[in-house]
Symmetry: C2
Subunit: 194 residues, 2 copies
């Protein structure tokens, strides 16, 4: 069985556990073991909130090491780009040399989304602070599609709406199919699985 | 000589080359070889903007592999969190098992900065979309200070102002001193250096 680390800002949803459970079930239906970092499940250790946050880091890293692949929800989060916790985890898998798959609830390109976020017109090449806007016709900062492409993964973007928008189930289901094709053609993929 | 990968949104500044040069010079003064990913220096390859973006990814990954340590500018970028390109690179070093050092131009905690960004009052535990706000008394999403702490690195936050604000030179100079202390106590640090 191939293990998949389910990274995403889903953990910040009020119904994070439910969303996680549904994603893990969908993974099972596609022949994957889904690992979902349920931040909220950890009891607060002695030492206060900082120690708690750092303990969650350790738990997430341990879970990532047990996963063969990352499947990252790179939907925009509080701005034009993806959630930085998720992005960190994508980088971690790239550093480990393991495949990166991604999905998003937003099908605009990064430049367009950045301009829309800040009310800039379609020709703007810099934001209001004079900082340049990436012009590479990619889904987000180039490091993210870069990691997906370099590792042989896939990125699916598909509009989602409603209260479940951030969970991006439409794109999630579609990228699972692509990931299954990838895994089936690589019987040695599960080497990282412990 | 220990090599340091200088990650940060500095590459989006109009005077990115100058800023990079000054940071590399400061590294040299502290006994480090600074590697600065000057995105803008790559000539556009055939294949258009997507191919160009993906080629920069490859160049940055190659440069990261040659560095012993990452020194990441995690100043807030277009929202309450750090630039996702930089965050990806922090994750990459964590995945490689190499030390992570960070600095920022903003000394607020992540919860306070998130609330300020969206005009929420000081007791808000969720944002306007009902998504929870991290409550760990850390500098940004817990994965970032988690990686710094777990690797034995340091994070320095110090207010910067003016047109050079995003470059965060004040915090940069201070974290360089901490990094030198770290490197001096680890003579085998430069093993990654090729």
């Amino acid at each position: 069985m191939r293990s998949v680390y389910l990274a995403g800002p889903d953990v910040f949803l009020p119904n994070a556990k439910q969303v996680g459970k549904r994603k893990v079930d969908l993974c099972t239906q596609h022949g994957f073991r889904g690992l979902f970092p349920l931040d909220n499940e950890l009891d607060e250790p002695p030492g206060g909130p900082r120690a708690h946050g750092l303990a969650i880091y350790g738990g997430n890293v341990e879970m990532m090491r047990r996963a063969d692949v990352i499947l990252a929800n790179l939907s925009p989060f509080r701005g034009p780009s993806a959630d930085v916790g998720t992005v960190f985890e994508v980088g971690f898998f790239a550093g480990l040399g393991r495949p990166v798959f991604a999905y998003s609830n937003d099908s605009r390109g990064f430049a367009e989304r950045t301009r829309d976020s800040f009310g800039l017109d379609a020709t703007a090449s810099v934001d209001k602070a004079g900082l340049s806007i990436e012009r590479f016709d990619l889904q987000d900062n180039l490091m993210l599609p870069g990691a997906v492409t370099a590792s042989g993964g896939s990125w699916v973007s598909k509009e989602s709406k409603g209260t479940q928008k951030l969970a991006a189930f439409e794109a999630f289901e579609e990228v699972l199919v692509a990931m299954r094709g990838f895994a089936d053609s690589r019987p040695t993929l599960a080497v990282a699985n412990r």
